[in-house]
């Protein structure tokens, strides 16, 4: 209804690029914004890494330009370090990876892959982006308000977070981000349920759509609980309620002015009830992208389509029952640990099944090592490390020692950075021709790929060594404690790897922007792929995508069908 209305009028600049209702423009807005946030979040950690490698020494080049809330006289102070740590986590997860995986790729390609003209609710879609944008701006602004940014980690454990400066802005910004995710997920769910092209049954859906659909359900059911927790924490701060303040707190020698009676563990339950599904929100879209690229690069139907889709759903359901494995040493009842250890071990089985299916897809293939394929292939061993190192963390006897050490940091960075982020970068290379009608440069892409992989491992692998040596996380100066001294040299290695990783992104950024304007022009289906997004022009037509809504005749990955001349057989051709 609204789409036809819009087509008939020439659009103003503002309607077309700022307050656009077109899912593709909104997807691009999400992509540019989230990439900028990723870069920013990464720069924050470079500052922290310098402090870890050379504790107490002045930050080179930029130390004197940092705000007082972070550094004094060019040297970072502990409050600044804690603020950077909290903001790095928050920005990377809530403003970087999720908006890139869900907001950008989901918005742009979910409607295309199901053959829809647009999302079900274009206005809600636009609102979702702008609410996210406001949340991001609030989050950044918190560095410059008196008291600085939040200092209690991205987990914001109470009562520390309630008693520290900066937390109010964090909670307000989170409220916006949560609202944005909710609006987005409603849109995704209704679109997938209602707007699929004729003939596109559930068993013909591309795996990327399956992944986005399960992700949207996770966001829908998990985020409101954090919203509740955030509101309670906000009231604790501004209205002096004591939901999370236990009786008899004495801070700095004086009793706090709270009625008391609250529970500090309640926050952790509310938080992890969101934040464990959140891990799969980070991961599932990436797995969906890997499935798309693998099928394309191996030129054969993906192995175990039903098993993978089933595993996505199984992970989706089970991810609501594992949250307390983050709390084995939190003081929670020890008997609860048995339950959560068991569910955690069970949830690893579908992940193993997915990896197995991906690996078996290589068998009998005809592998083309194109640029996106490199990223998809790198995802497998890298996510493998991330997944496997999750085992000792979900297993209580080993978690006692490894909990809150650098082992945990290494584990989730392998999952999210070398796993998700590598796959998302592959997605950018894979879908760039569809978004802009041009290809990214292959040579510079390969340089970007190899340097990125090497330096990422240079940062994250030593974290396991540190973790096994017992180095705790979130230490401003690890050299104060004797058990951290032996492995301190690894911090220097990690810091230089991080700086080099930042430099390695320059070819990507330059390649990206140059290719938008000057890249090699491509046809509509440069990778000779089968799914519906390749059935429309590149870039797709504004507000309607397809010349005519396609009809779907077959499954998503029909490559090398016996008896056909071409090695691919698109879904929309009979």
């Amino acid at each position: 209804m609204q789409t036809e209305h819009l087509e008939s009028h020439p659009e103003t600049f503002i309607r077309k690029w700022i307050f656009s209702l077109d899912h593709k423009t909104i997807g691009l807005q999400y992509m540019f914004t989230s990439l900028i946030f990723l870069l920013f979040g990464f720069s924050l950690v470079l500052l922290m890494r310098w402090q870890l490698a050379y504790p107490g020494s002045a930050l080179p080049l930029i130390g004197y330009y940092l705000p007082d809330s972070i550094a004094a006289g060019g040297v970072m102070h502990p409050a600044g370090y804690n603020a950077l740590g909290a903001m790095h986590g928050t920005i990377m997860i809530f403003l970087g990876v999720v908006p890139l995986g869900v907001g950008a790729f989901g918005n742009y390609f979910l409607p295309l892959q199901i053959g829809a003209k647009d999302m079900a609710f274009p206005r809600i879609n636009m609102t979702s982006y702008w609410v996210y944008f406001i949340g991001g701006v609030l989050m950044l602004a918190s560095f410059f308000v008196p008291g600085g940014a939040a200092q209690s980690g991205w987990t914001s454990y109470v009562p520390l977070s309630i008693l520290s400066p900066g937390q109010t802005m964090w909670l307000l910004a989170m409220t916006f981000l949560i609202t944005s995710s909710l609006l987005g997920s409603i849109n995704f769910i209704v679109t997938t349920l209602n707007l699929r092209a004729p003939g596109l049954t559930w068993s013909r859906l591309p795996l990327f759509v399956w992944a986005q659909f399960v992700t949207a359900l996770l966001l829908l059911f998990a985020f409101p609980v954090l919203q509740a927790g955030a509101i309670l924490q906000l009231l604790d701060r501004i209205a002096k309620t004591s939901f999370f303040i236990p009786s008899g707190l004495i801070v700095g020698g004086a009793p706090v002015e709270y009625a008391g009676g609250g529970s500090a563990l309640l926050w952790q339950h509310l938080f992890w009830f969101l934040a464990h599904p959140e891990v799969y929100v980070l991961l599932l879209p990436a797995m969906g992208i890997v499935a798309e690229i693998l099928a394309n690069g191996t030129r054969k139907p993906i192995f175990g389509y039903k098993e993978i889709a089933g595993s996505f759903c199984f992970i989706g359901v089970l991810s609501f029952m594992v949250w307390a494995h983050h709390m084995f040493v939190s003081g929670m009842k020890t008997s609860l640990s048995y339950l959560f250890m068991t569910t955690t071990m069970i949830i690893s089985v579908p992940s193993v099944a997915i990896i197995t299916c991906f690996l078996l897809s290589l068998k009998g293939a005809s592998i083309q090592f194109k640029l996106p394929m490199l990223f998809a292939l790198a995802f497998l061993p890298m996510f493998g490390i991330g997944g496997l190192t999750g085992l000792p963390l979900g297993f209580t006897p080993t978690d006692v020692y490894l909990h809150d050490t650098y082992y945990v940091i290494g584990h989730f960075h392998y999952v999210v950075v070398t796993g998700s982020l590598i796959a998302l970068m592959g997605g950018i290379y894979y879908w760039f021709p569809k978004m802009f009608g041009r290809k990214m440069n292959e040579f510079w892409g390969k340089i970007h790929f190899w340097t990125t992989i090497v330096f990422m491992n240079g940062i994250f692998f030593p974290m396991f060594i540190q973790g096994l040596a017992g180095v705790q996380r979130r230490l401003y100066d690890p050299t104060v404690q004797a058990h951290n001294l032996v492995v301190q040299p690894t911090n220097v290695l990690m810091t230089y790897s991080a700086i080099l990783l930042m430099i390695a992104q320059i070819p990507f950024i330059v390649n990206f922007f140059v290719s938008i304007f000057k890249g090699e022009k491509t046809e509509d289906n440069p990778w000779q792929a089968t799914t519906l997004e390749w059935a429309c022009p590149s870039p797709p037509l504004p507000h309607k995508n397809f010349e005519k809504i396609p009809t779907v005749y077959k499954g998503p990955y029909e490559y090398n069908v016996p008896g056909e001349a071409k090695d691919f057989s698109p879904q929309h051709l009979p």
């Binding site: 009562p159 497998l380 080993t398 017992g470 004797a482 016996p562």
Partner: protein
């Protein structure tokens, strides 16, 4: 440099450290095995099924039953792991508290950014505490009018323990969440305000070890450290006597 620490795990200094390390080695062995198998299979496929070597790809939608073997093996391994390794060890370290008669009982109170050890002293009874009496000299707010409190020992950031006798510790916090971490004992437990959390361990090695805080507790988190001093029972008794007032 301290002899207790190196590039791997710190030395084992408690009765159950060996058990925990055993499961850590077991898991890492299995993880490395799985990873190597995956990697070899993947490298083999990448070479064997390159477009150059492979020609036309195989078209198949079948998922043979054998492809479930890895998942099934994983499930069996994990069930074995939980029921035969995980649950017994966890029950041992968290639920089988040693008897009071045979152990050293004490309280540890965490605050920003120090650990205060509170021993009951010779009478074995902890004195009454009153929050309003808390000051720099009396970090726990011990009530001096209570006879039980007279022989109590309060020691800041220094935990003395006798060798070979289990320690039963009740952890509590005055302000925010801390985490009691002694790497050599493989001991870690969050200290949560509003809760009293019992833990136990048995030192098996003489010497000085380190207490760290493992949960972000504010700007001084990194320097919130203490020492554990494990002494022979005689030395420990001497220390107790020397610390007792009057």
């Amino acid at each position: 440099m301290n002899q207790n620490y190196g590039w791997g795990l710190p030395v084992q200094a408690s009765s159950y450290a060996g058990k925990l390390d055993g499961s850590l080695f077991l898991l890492h062995g299995v993880m490395i095995l799985i990873f190597v198998l995956w990697a070899f299979y993947m490298i083999f496929c990448l070479i064997r099924y390159r477009q150059k070597n492979s020609g036309r790809a195989l078209y198949s939608h079948k998922t043979p039953l054998s492809s479930y073997i890895p998942d099934a093996l994983m499930l069996i391994f994990e069930i074995w792991l939980i029921f035969f390794v995980g649950i017994p060890i966890w029950a041992h370290i968290r639920e089988e508290l040693p008897k009071e008669e045979t152990s050293v009982a004490l309280h540890i109170v965490a605050e920003q950014f120090a650990w205060t050890m509170h021993y009951p002293g010779l009478d074995g009874k902890f004195g009454k505490q009153n929050p309003s009496l808390i000051n720099a000299d009396n970090p726990l707010g011990l009530d001096e009018n209570d006879p039980d409190s007279l022989d109590d020992i309060v020691s800041v950031n220094e935990l003395h323990l006798p060798l070979g006798k289990p320690a039963r510790i009740l952890l509590s916090s005055k302000d925010v969440i801390h985490s009691f971490f002694v790497p050599e004992f493989r001991m870690k437990q969050d200290v949560v305000p509003g809760m009293n959390i019992p833990i136990w361990f048995e030192p098996t090695k003489l010497g000085a070890f380190e207490i760290g805080c493992a949960q972000l507790c504010g700007t001084g988190h990194y320097r919130m450290r203490g020492d554990v001093i494990v002494q022979s029972p005689e030395e420990f008794e001497n220390w107790t006597k020397s610390k007792t007032k009057s």
